[in-house]
């Protein structure tokens, strides 16, 4: 019996393939966007875990130099000769025009078992591994990526961190031009009878990284993505809801007939549930495939973002995880269930003998409208309260959620109000009918319009944020990259020769020197700068105490970046512990975009005495702009420097902007997809309505309004509704942008940007929204204008 019922229910989809496509498309898109984002997050987290586990970082302590530089070989040997089990690692990045690669050089002879260095294949030539030119072990994905041109032989091996090569320390030393270990791994079990390691060396003992700084830094980024995925999923469900609503509405008579013919209600409900489950499984399957494709397409951008922004290495490829697919399917079933619940309940309650007249399936009374308005006000209230309490990424997203929900609920109320005003101003019976009819249709259309509102608001918000960011960032780059040339030298000697060479050729040579350290127990960098107008005049300070630069150059104060200042709540005058026994007051805070970590700047003299081991290999060169190209050429020739070692300002800016563009590429892509989904939601709703509205349209036609005019009126009406929706979306989007800039970004990236508005973008978005609405209205309108008069006449000749 249920089988017969299911097959007769399915016959509906065979007869209405477009509806079926809508349902599948909605579900598949919702699943795809949500699961795609999940896949990206999962892949990135796996990469972090792998990176954290690489060489046992998550379980083994390390020894690092106090100044953040390399560990002198003599210190390493002294520890070994004292009997301590420590193992050297030389790590760094090689980069050329062709690509980049992180090199991790280990000493397999001394590496503790817990470091878990991956094995060489059975036929790997050990002599080749240990002797020049050496071998590089990397994953297949890394090997297929863009790599530097000249490399030793590559051997594919599992378990190597993404975008990195594992090799013998000797090979790493040659490739990186670095003799001394970057750090030492400490074996967990040390031989009997030795004093504690901390007493035996002046090197700094760093505890294992249990959670991983990278994971913590990138958490906010992933939360960001998740929020977008959720938004897309929600918008997708609007389509599903519309498509299911349509399918149920059109089959009301069939349900009743089947029951009259002897199908119990319970069997009907089981059949419907089976039908929906099957639909969700098929659509979910399509969605998972789509989601995988979306994720795979976005993954390189995400990887570039994470690398550019956080220095986190994430594989550019995507591996398929059945667990991910299963959870995506679960979400799809839940979503389809939620979307179908209302229609199912209504079907369950539908009396067998109710007059079988077609009616809008979401006919809302004035009372319902009032309720919705109150709910919207409540959500706005919650948003204001959360905004007032402030703080925290989650609070930021909660604020956004409340704001968007409130706006969505307020939309029908606002539209009804607006249509009421238009109706009063309308001239002529047709216009009066049109506005009255529009108001009546609102409940049916409102879900789709809400989807449009959400998509538009998100679009306004995100593009405002990205635009503000771009403007600020570009201006900041101009200030920050004031020097005409930037030169990298291979070692200290070359640096000294360079400085001598430039003595009378450049206006100033500013060493770029830094030491990696920890500030407030998080990784941070301290820079030393020489007293020069470049800094005093151009360095972008957000806040500063009077005489800030003098104090910094005198070694009496420190400048901190915005990220550190925000994280630690520092302002001018607060004290920062820079090194043991060195606490300096904050003289000012500077903006530092594109870097999530803490940073501080001290005067060069103080820097030299605090970090005597640090070397200046990079230099900023001030020279008359017109002389810069000639000087760059001279430097390349004189020092035999590769092109990549001498860069002009424009090159660096271009690179920085690339990093920036990558950062928001994913956000932009999701944004466009969401808008597309909203347009589909509109189309589905209109298709639903067009068949249901015949009884309303037919009498008007009979009274002498041409089909073409009716069809055009349908299009105009939707354009009007969409424009009104856009008007409401605009302020919502601006508040969204403000929240993103002032709350979410501060939490996610550690910097706050001044908000700027881009009305030209709004106009483009309005046109885009109207285009989407116009396209959505076109198909039903075309149908109406070509509808056989007989179909319209049927309205009079038969009730369904």
């Amino acid at each position: 019996m249920v089988g017969t019922a299911v097959s007769s229910l399915f016959s509906h989809w065979r007869r209405n393939p477009l509806q079926l496509a809508m349902l599948w498309l909605g579900l598949a898109l919702a699943t795809a966007l949500w699961s795609g984002v999940q896949a990206i997050n999962a892949e990135a987290r796996t990469s972090y875990a792998e990176a954290a586990a690489a060489l046992g970082q998550d379980s083994l302590s390390r020894l690092v130099a106090q100044d953040g530089g390399a560990v002198p070989i003599r210190d390493y040997l002294a520890l070994r000769r004292a009997g301590y089990l420590v193992s050297p690692v030389i790590t760094g990045e090689i980069r050329d025009e062709a690509g980049r690669l992180r090199i991790i050089g280990i000493d397999p002879l001394t590496a503790p078992q817990e470091a878990g260095a991956p094995g060489l294949g059975g036929n790997t030539d050990l002599a080749a591994f240990f002797t020049a030119p050496g071998l590089l072990l990397m994953t297949e994905a890394t090997a297929e990526g863009a790599l530097p041109a000249v490399l030793p032989r590559i051997v594919i091996a599992e378990g190597v961190p993404p975008a990195a090569a594992l090799t013998d320390i000797g090979t790493a030393s040659r490739l990186l031009g670095q003799e001394e270990p970057s750090y030492l791994i400490v074996a967990p079990a040390q031989p009997a009878g030795l004093p504690p390691l901390a007493e035996a060396t002046s090197l700094l003992l760093v505890a294992p990284e249990t959670s991983g700084d990278v994971a913590r830094l990138t958490d906010s980024f992933h939360l960001n993505l998740t929020a977008f995925g959720l938004l897309s999923f929600g918008v997708g469900l609007f389509i599903v809801h519309a498509a299911i609503g349509l399918a149920f509405e059109q089959r009301r008579a069939t349900f009743r007939t089947l029951r009259a013919l002897g199908l119990p209600l319970r069997s009907l409900m089981i059949a419907l549930a089976l039908e929906m489950t099957l639909m969700a499984l098929i659509a979910g399957g399509i969605g998972i495939v789509l989601g995988y494709l979306v994720a795979a397409a976005l993954m390189p951008g995400v990887a570039a973002t994470l690398r550019g922004l956080y220095g986190a290495e994430v594989a550019g490829g995507l591996s398929f995880d059945p667990q991910w697919a299963l959870s995506a399917m679960g979400i799809t079933l839940l979503g389809a269930g939620a979307a179908a619940a209302q229609a199912m309940i209504r079907t369950g309650r539908m009396p067998l003998l109710a007059p079988a007249q077609p009616r809008a399936w979401a006919q809302a009374s004035d009372r319902a409208m009032r309720r919705q308005g109150l709910a919207a006000l409540a959500f706005f209230g919650v948003a204001v309260v959360i905004g007032g309490l402030g703080g925290g990424l989650l609070a930021g997203f909660a604020l956004l959620g409340a704001l968007l929900l409130g706006a969505a609920l307020a939309l029908p109320v606002v539209l009804a109000f607006a249509l009421g005003i238009f109706a009063r101003g309308a001239r002529g019976p047709f216009a009066e009918w049109l506005f009255a009819d529009s108001r009546q249709q609102l409940p049916a259309l409102s879900l789709a319009l809400m989807a449009l509102l959400l998509a538009l608001a998100a679009n306004v918000g995100v593009s405002t944020m990205v635009g503000s960011f771009r403007t600020t960032f570009t201006g900041w780059l101009d200030q920050r990259l004031a020097a005409e040339l930037y030169v990298s030298t291979a070692d200290e000697a070359e640096g000294l020769r360079l400085q001598r060479f430039l003595d009378d050729r450049a206006d100033a040579v500013l060493p770029i020197i830094s030491a990696e350290t920890r500030l407030f127990d998080l990784p941070a960098e301290i820079f030393g700068i020489v007293d020069h107008a470049t800094y005093r005049e151009a360095w972008p300070l957000l806040t500063s105490a009077p005489g800030a630069w003098d104090a910094v150059f005198a070694g009496e104060a420190v400048l901190v970046n915005e990220q550190l200042a925000r994280r630690q709540g520092l302002s001018a005058g607060d004290t920062v512990p820079l090194a043991p026994g060195l606490n300096l007051p904050v003289a000012g805070v500077y903006s530092d975009y594109g870097n999530p970590s803490g940073q501080a700047i001290v005067g060069m003299d103080l820097f030299r005495t605090t970090f005597p081991e640090a070397r200046a290999d990079d230099f900023a060169i001030r020279v008359a702009p017109e002389d810069a190209p000639a000087l760059a050429t001279a430097l390349r020739e004189e020092f035999g420097l590769p092109d990549t070692a001498v860069r002009n300002q424009a090159q660096i800016k271009r690179f920085s902007l690339e990093v920036f563009e990558n950062t928001f590429r994913v956000t932009g892509a999701l944004n466009v997809l969401t808008l597309g989904v909203a347009a589909l939601a509109l189309l589905t709703s209109l298709l639903t309505l067009s068949s249901l509205r015949l009884p309303q349209v037919a009498p008007v036609w009979a009274l002498g309004v041409a089909r073409g005019r009716l069809a055009r009126a349908e299009v105009w009406r939707l354009l009007l509704l969409s424009a009104l929706t856009f008007l409401l979306a605009l302020p919502v989007g601006l508040v969204l942008a403000w929240v993103l800039l002032a709350v979410v970004n501060v939490e996610a990236f550690g910097w706050r940007l001044p908000m700027q508005v881009f009305p030209a973008d709004w106009l483009r978005l309005l046109l885009l929204a109207l285009l989407a609405a116009g396209l959505a209205a076109a198909l039903p309108a075309l149908r109406l204008s070509h509808m056989a008069p007989a179909r319209l006449l049927q309205v009079f000749s038969q009730e369904r």
Binding site: S8, T254, P264, R800
Partner: protein
């Protein structure tokens, strides 16, 4: 074939009220009637006299407030929705004024649907009925491609294909022109006679009512002999 004497349908003291603005309005008051196998009974009355309500109660589409409805020995009041649906599907064939075909199914599938739901589908009977009702060339069509008379013939075939013991017809020719309506009624009466099922037909047409073996009239919810 059921015995000529055993009633296929028995209504006794049936009362039905619908909620109204000033308390419940009685639609049917203490109506009793009995239909024997092979008997054809016309139920006439003005609009709002309660004809359709009586037919719905007879088919178990609705439950009476008082009284009993017995369909082929099953007390419908004692059954739940599922039980009533089962008895209806097994023993009653319903024919509506608006035909109520499933729009997404072909003529052939529509004819078979009730029999299949009742688990007593007989393809041979289907084709005999299709042939007899002159639908042979239309089996692959969908309802919207049929005329009103054709649609009602499909509905009749659907009702009979389930081999019901009683046919409940609500203005079966109400949406058809006179000539078509007469032809459809001729077919229906012939087939009812052939199968030996009982027929309870609601109509407002005296002319049509006269063609049935017995006739009752409803006025303001009460039966009047006529």
């Amino acid at each position: 074939m059921p015995s000529m004497t055993a009633p296929v349908l028995d209504l006794s003291g049936v009362t039905k009220r619908y909620p109204g603005a000033e308390g419940p309005l009685p639609v049917l008051s203490s109506v009793s009637l009995c239909l024997a196998a092979g008997e054809t009974l016309a139920l006439t009355g003005e609009s709002g006299s309660g004809k359709s309500t009586l037919l719905h109660l007879a088919g178990g589409l609705d439950a009476p407030d008082e009284g009993r409805v017995t369909l082929m020995g099953h007390d419908l009041a004692a059954l739940n929705d599922a039980g009533r649906a089962k008895v209806r599907g097994r023993h009653a064939g319903l024919i509506f004024q608006q035909f109520n075909l499933v729009p997404s199914l072909t003529v052939a599938a529509n004819v078979a649907i009730q029999a299949r739901l009742a688990g007593r589908h007989d393809p041979a009977l289907d084709s005999r009925l299709i042939d007899r009702l002159g639908l042979s060339d239309l089996t692959a069509r969908y309802p919207e491609q049929l005329s009103g008379g054709q649609q009602q013939r499909v509905a009749i075939a659907r009702a009979l294909a389930a081999r019901p013991d009683v046919i409940l017809a609500d203005e079966p020719t109400g949406n058809l022109d006179e000539a078509t309506g007469d032809a459809v009624l001729d077919l229906l009466l012939d087939l009812v006679t052939e199968t030996g099922a009982g027929l309870l037909m609601v109509t407002h047409s005296e002319r049509l009512a006269a063609r049935l073996s017995r006739r009752l009239s409803l006025s303001r919810g009460r039966l009047e002999a006529s």
